[in-house]
């Protein structure tokens, strides 16, 4: 396949240290884990991650030292395993700046980028300490005088979106929940799609406008089967609880975490993902 299809390592190599990257999915679902692992393998530094609700992806990047800023509404392992161990440690030790958002302010910041405006106002929010903590300013409605919090544009350098199918032109299909992925794909300067399956050029068209993300927004297509593992990919595979449990367990101490990282992430063999522990 030609077009925009390139190898995972080559696609990830295009992301510069210090870039702002938005990651698809939500908590344990359709995270672009194959690309996240490759970011760690390539030893990226100084990245800033954007996500409404992250879990393994953001935690791993924090633990590996790849990110030093996180614009996120939530990072945790839900009720499965509680707090995100590496994320938490990095923030508490001052290695990670948490640009805490409400999930809706991530969405609003992405919308501002999409709509080509430097900010968008939101309803509500007054009384939250996020306003002073994030140094968010307010605007006044020029018609009624009402005061509103102004959320600044949030424009990722890259959106990395894991999808079910993509064609070589970058037309990409997501099945089921789209989460904030379309916002990310539209707001970002560049888009990398990692796909469970790369289909022939005419397939999505022939089946009747099946693309979720139009190819003209996409810069790179990577064939990444099981590329969301250990997160779920709707209709294909569930969350790998056993892996995540082992990850959280290992993350309780730095040495065990490093060992785990070595065994499951830094080995290129781990790329395919999903070998049972």
């Amino acid at each position: 396949m030609s077009g925009k299809v390139i190898a995972l390592a080559d696609a990830v190599a295009r992301i510069d240290d210090g870039a702002t990257i938005a990651l698809s999915g939500n908590t344990f679902h359709r995270s672009p884990t194959a690309a996240v692992h490759e970011l760690v393998r390539q030893g990226k530094r100084g990245l800033r991650v954007v996500k409404t609700a992250g879990a393994y992806d953001v935690d791993l990047l924090a633990g590996a030292g790849s990110i030093d800023r996180a614009a996120v509404g939530y990072v945790g392992f839900e009720a499965l395993f509680g707090l995100a161990p590496n994320y938490r440690r990095a923030a508490e030790e001052g290695r990670l700046v948490v640009e805490e958002h409400a999930c809706y302010t991530v969405i609003t910041g992405l919308r501002a980028a999409i709509q080509g405006v430097p900010f968008l106002p939101v309803a509500g929010m007054f009384g939250s300490d996020l306003i002073p903590a994030r140094e968010w300013k307010t605007v006044f409605d020029p018609y009624s005088g009402e005061e509103l919090v102004a959320i600044p544009r949030l424009a990722p350098d890259w959106a990395i979106i894991h999808v079910h199918r993509a064609d070589p032109e970058g037309n990409a299909q997501i099945r089921g929940s789209v989460f904030e992925d379309l916002l990310m794909a539209n707001a970002a300067e560049r888009v990398m799609v990692t796909a469970e399956e790369v289909v022939p050029p005419e397939a999505l068209r022939a089946e009747g406008a099946q693309a979720t993300v139009p190819g003209f927004l996409v810069d790179a297509v990577v064939h990444a089967p099981r590329g969301a593992w250990p997160c779920s990919c709707e209709g294909l595979y569930p969350v790998d609880d056993a892996y995540l449990s082992a990850y959280v367990e290992a993350s309780k101490d730095e040495a065990a975490y490093r060992e785990f990282l070595q065994a499951y992430v830094l080995q290129p063999a781990a790329l395919a993902g999903g070998e049972p522990l």
């Binding site: 509404g73 939530y74 805490e100 409400a102 969350v239």
Partner: protein, 239 residues
């Protein structure tokens, strides 16, 4: 037979839901999920169940541990996105949202962000997720908390992640309601005294004249909860 606090919480929250209303839960919300499905299976068949994956009125047949799981879109009539539900709340059309707080104060303000200073926290919590907007724009918020002690119910929050239209707070000890800006107990769970509740609470509680005991789940409710959540995901937060 003594009910597990999870069952009491789920059941108490379910009873707060009215038929036909729109109700939303987010991440890490196993108890609200059970409450919503319980209400729909009992007194509120027309409840409109909205969740973080953008599913409208899904009918999950199996409860996952993650409340963002695709299983929670099964049987949906329509799929939109999370942004649509935030918008719905922002324009005051979302009736009820379930939220939680690591710390909750007398006014129903809550903290999901940090213990200690924001910039260099002693404990970095997960973050408020949608709370800051939802609590201030949804018609009402029902808070739940699986621990009721002076670390959870505090005189002063380390950080106000969110505040707004909190109407109810449901805990392992009691159901509290906000009256004129302050929480006060509305019912005490079986076996809990006002004194014990006050002892477990870091701020002073007004003592209402009448303080009934929370009605424990009926047999039908118990059976329905068990059918909805046979794997016991509602206990996850107590682990």
């Amino acid at each position: 037979m003594s009910d597990h606090p999870a069952d009491l919480i789920a059941c108490s929250m379910a009873r707060l839901l009215a038929d036909g209303e729109t109700v939303f839960h987010g991440v890490a919300s196993n108890l609200p999920l059970v409450a919503i499905l319980l209400a729909r299976a009992t007194h509120a068949p027309g409840l409109v169940y909205l969740n973080i994956g953008g599913a409208v009125d899904a009918r999950p047949t199996r409860l996952p541990k993650s409340t963002v799981d695709p299983a929670l879109a099964d049987g949906a009539v329509c799929r939109v996105t999370l942004a649509d539900f935030f918008d719905l709340s922002a324009r005051r059309r979302l009736d009820t949202v379930f939220l939680s707080g690591a710390q909750i104060d007398l006014h129903g303000n809550f903290n999901l962000s940090v213990i200690g200073p924001f910039d260099r926290p002693k404990v970095r919590l997960p973050g408020g997720a949608g709370s800051a907007l939802l609590a201030s724009t949804a018609r009402r918020t029902i808070l739940w908390r699986t621990r009721h002690d002076q670390r959870a119910f505090v005189e002063s929050l380390d950080f106000v992640s969110a505040c707004g239209n909190v109407e109810w707070v449901v805990t392992p000890l009691a159901v509290l309601k906000r009256h004129e800006g302050s929480l006060r107990p509305e019912s005490l769970h079986p076996g809990v005294t006002f004194e014990a509740l006050q002892e477990a609470t870091g701020f002073e509680l007004a003592r209402p004249e009448a303080l009934p005991t929370t009605a424990p789940p009926t047999d039908e409710e118990r059976k329905t909860i068990e059918a909805i959540d046979p794997e016991g995901n509602r206990y996850l937060e107590f682990a």
